[in-house]
Amino acid sequence: MPFIPHTDHDIQQMLAATGADSIDALFSEIDPSLRDVDISAVPERASEQAVTRLMHDRASQDAPGLCFIGAGAYEHHIPAAVWEITTRGEFYSAYTPYQPEASQGTLQVVYEYQSMMAGLTGMDVANASLYDGASALAEAVLMAVRANRKSKSARILMPASVHPFYREVAYNICKNQQITFEAIGYDETTGLIDREALSAWADEDITALVIPQPNFFGAIEDVDALTDWAQNNGALAIGVVNPLSLALLKAPGQWGHGEGADIVVGEGQPLGAPMAGGGPYFGILCCRKKHVRQMPGRVVGKTTDMEGREGYVLTLQPREQHIRRSKATSNICTNQGLLVTAATIHMSLMGNTGLHNVAATCAATTRDLVARLTAIAGVEKVFDSAYFHECALRLPVAAENVLAQLAERDIFGGLDLSRFYAGTENVILVCATETKTDGDLAAFAEALADVLADETEAA
């Protein structure tokens, strides 16, 4: 019996101890009408050998190709040590550290993670992670509503330059709580938040403004002005960041002329999580100290034991569901512990210099790619603003077919932006991280030129 150690002898002896005639008798309190279960549609068991072969076959169907898609999930080099250590049984098969004395490994890792995240964002505190970047934004919105006691409107300004899926998720999670989201468009020249549209809200009661940096188009928002605008209008500033970009870009804790952003969220995936078809990733959430008791999720704090030795515990638990129940700050209880472990190891291996080098190399590689692609007739940048490592490019023809043809050549040539934005049928969003070599960029450029030539001929 796979994963069940009982011998016939054990079963007989254990049943005898319990006084039951059979294992089935242990289920006697379940109504007999419920106990005739047919699950024959589930396949018979396969041996590990058979499943190994099956999964190798399945994995080979998902051959990655040369990937220039970003849009919230990024291919980065992950040092081998990261997952070799993260998947050690002691990390992998432990649970939430309810017994801190038996969980100092996990707890110290999380404390180190919180320290790194606070450092990277320039914020006072970080929690132990949330599910992913999108749900972290939803939690940040709920948190802002709790934290901004001066605002009664529960009105959130949500720019269109925030990742479309993040906007959807935030809406889906918050919509039952009388929170309203007001869309703010983007400037078609710059790809940045439409400041005029924003100004229209200046006299209203606003709970929070969401500020993406870089935004979904990879473009660099004027975060200082936006943060100041929000705070001057009584709103909290919620930053949505790519944590890797913070090795180059101003820390949210320094945004604006006040005390920085109030809450910062982001997708942790670029810090050690493989793309892996979409997850598991982890959501970053940091905030200023004054909001800490409104912060959702687990938090680890340092303390001492009976003999004065330093140690780590889960803290601020009174916010949580098992104590506060319906009054809890959130229903979230798990974090993404294993991903946090990986990220902590990843950031330790990168260090200040390494993370900076990765970020700068990504930026430079994307610039190189943009230069090569825009050298192709009819291909041009859509926006004139500065960008980090993603850029929107207009093709002379519709993107959908071009991308499909590139995929035939095992090149995933970016995201078809029209999936999310009206009037962008010809636009692709491309990204080239530090994983891309000169040869890769050349291959993409050559393939795109070919495909466009064919398309133009056909037209």
């Binding site: 549609a41 990655p64 432990a94 890792v109 505190v125 999670i173 104590i323 809890a328 902590t344 390494g354």
Partner: protein, 497 residues
């Protein structure tokens, strides 16, 4: 035995130099005001520093791979290593979530088949795998119930009934979905008090959230009556899958009348708990809620050789409550659950519940025989049961927390303590099906030995643990003097890169 912080190993200029690009190209086209001017605050260490530090830290954890871990309601069963190895194949790890579906058929085939298997074992009509944890699964379930009533124009239904023994996430979830929580007491046998329930059910009832077997460790005997009552009142039933391990393949929430269920794949399908996550809270729905499922869901076109898989979207799921994660939830966790399900097969799934229940009843019987008080002595245990140490607390001054800490010294992770709140000084004990009789016997011996120690000298328990890297930690001080991050004493560790 304790380990310095990684920051304390940091020295300016030290680096794990093989791991990152050797230099940073100049990026001079970014606005000066957008640029970072402060240190990143990361440690500067060598690869060996990192490997040694985190390897040593890992050794300070109890885990299933090293210790018996009978943490009630958490289903800490063996995580087969094949699930990790195979879910980590390069083809899966390298897949971008937005890459074309036809270049991701391997993963999508796994998801589709997992959906189908989960439908079968729960008796539901549809499954969406996207929720990223139990709590998000709960949210999904209640949000669907809410959306269902609203789609019918039934806007008055805003009450969610929750038994008082439920996990704290249940009421918290109901509130997140904009509902009011109506708590329902338990009766003397640990079942829902049906009479009390009847009084609360009515035209405002959106639904009920039930864990079955409940957190009291017993199967809800009146489930069919409850189901009928709620449905007749126009409400829907939500099944909290936290304890699904207890009935897998033996009874199905769909047959009991539940309209929606979430499954903690990190419990019942043995994906890793990972020190707190990632979890996975896949949801199953009855016919009424099929059109409300969260996306993405994987659909299948064709049969046999020509089979292809695609992402279902709003056109396929017209009333979907929408997307709850940026991409496909915790995809890698789903792969692990799929692999586990294939390794178990249909017979193996039924055995999960059978042997989890056998182990639990055996352990309960042995502890009873040793003189311990169980909360519901007349009931069969489900996959877990409750011991109350009220008597030990009164007679010897040692409670559930003290037994828990002393168990750590004996090399056993403690059961869940002080939950459910209904039972004083309680230990909620869940051995799971993957533990052997010898391990359970060893745990019983430890419980007896600890009780004996308490009779001799209570401080052996109240001051425990003695044999771990740290003694008992001061949680009150931690909450009072919040220290949530390392602050370098000198500028060293935070110097500008």
């Amino acid at each position: 035995m304790t380990e310095q912080l990684i920051f304390e190993h940091s020295r300016p200029g030290r680096q794990a130099a093989a791991q990152a690009p050797a230099s940073a190209p100049t990026i001079d086209d970014l606005p000066a005001t957008a640029m970072r001017r402060t240190a990143l605050g990361l440690p500067e260490v060598s690869e060996l520093d990192v490997v040694r530090h985190y390897t040593r830290l890992s050794q300070q954890n109890f885990s299933i791979d090293t210790h018996f871990y009978p943490l009630g309601s958490c289903t800490m069963k063996h995580n087969p290593r094949a699930c990790n190895t195979l879910a980590s194949l390069p083809g899966f790890l390298g897949r971008h979530p937005l890459a074309p579906a036809r270049h991701g058929q391997g993963m999508m085939a796994c998801f589709y088949e997992l959906q189908e298997m989960l439908k079968t074992v729960t008796g539901m009509a549809g499954v969406s795998l996207t929720p990223m944890a139990g709590a998000q699964g709960e949210f999904t379930g209640v949000a669907m119930i809410k959306a269902y009533h609203e789609a019918r124009g039934d806007y008055e239904r805003d009450e969610i009934l929750v038994p008082e023994a439920a996990h704290g996430t249940n009421p918290a979830t109901a509130v997140m979905c904009g509902c009011k929580v109506v708590e329902i007491p338990a009766d003397g046998d640990g079942d829902v008090d049906v009479a009390a329930l009847r009084e609360k059910v009515g035209p405002k009832t959106a639904g009920i959230m039930l864990t079955n077997p409940s957190t009291l460790g017993v199967f809800e005997q009146d489930i069919l009556e409850i189901s009928k009552m709620i449905h007749e009142a126009g409400g829907l039933l939500y099944y909290d899958g936290a304890n699904l391990n207890a009935i897998l393949g033996k009874a199905r929430p769909g047959d009991m009348g539940f309209d929606v269920i979430h499954m903690n794949l990190h419990k019942t399908f043995s994906t890793p708990h990972g020190g707190g996550g990632p979890g996975s809270g896949a949801v199953g729905v009855g016919k009424r809620l099929l059109d409300f499922m969260p996306i993405p869901v994987v659909g299948r076109d064709g049969e046999g050789e020509g089979t292809t898989y695609r992402w279902l979207d709003e056109r396929d799921v017209p009333h979907t409550i929408g997307r709850l994660s940026a991409f496909m939830g915790n995809a890698g966790v789903l792969l692990r659950a799929y692999i586990y399900a294939r390794l178990l097969g249909r017979e193996g799934m039924t055995r999960v519940a059978e042997f989890a229940t056998l182990n639990s009843n055996y352990l309960m019987t042995r502890l009873k025989a040793a003189g311990f008080d169980v909360a519901y002595p007349e009931r069969k245990a489900s996959h877990e049961f409750i011991v109350t140490l009220k008597r030990q607390k009164q007679e010897l001054g040692v409670g559930a927390g003290d037994f828990a800490k002393r168990l750590l010294d004996y090399g056993y992770h403690a059961p869940t303590v002080y939950f459910p709140l209904l039972v004083p000084e309680c230990l909620l004990i869940e051995p799971t099906e993957t533990e052997s009789r010898e391990t359970i016997d060893g745990f019983v011996d430890a419980m007896i030995a600890i009780w004996d120690e308490a009779r001799v000298d209570a401080t052996t328990l109240t001051e425990a643990p003695f044999n771990l890297p740290v003694r008992r930690l001061d949680e009150v001080a931690a909450a009072k003097n919040l220290d949530l991050k390392f602050e370098a004493e000198t500028g060293d560790a935070r110097s500008v890169a």
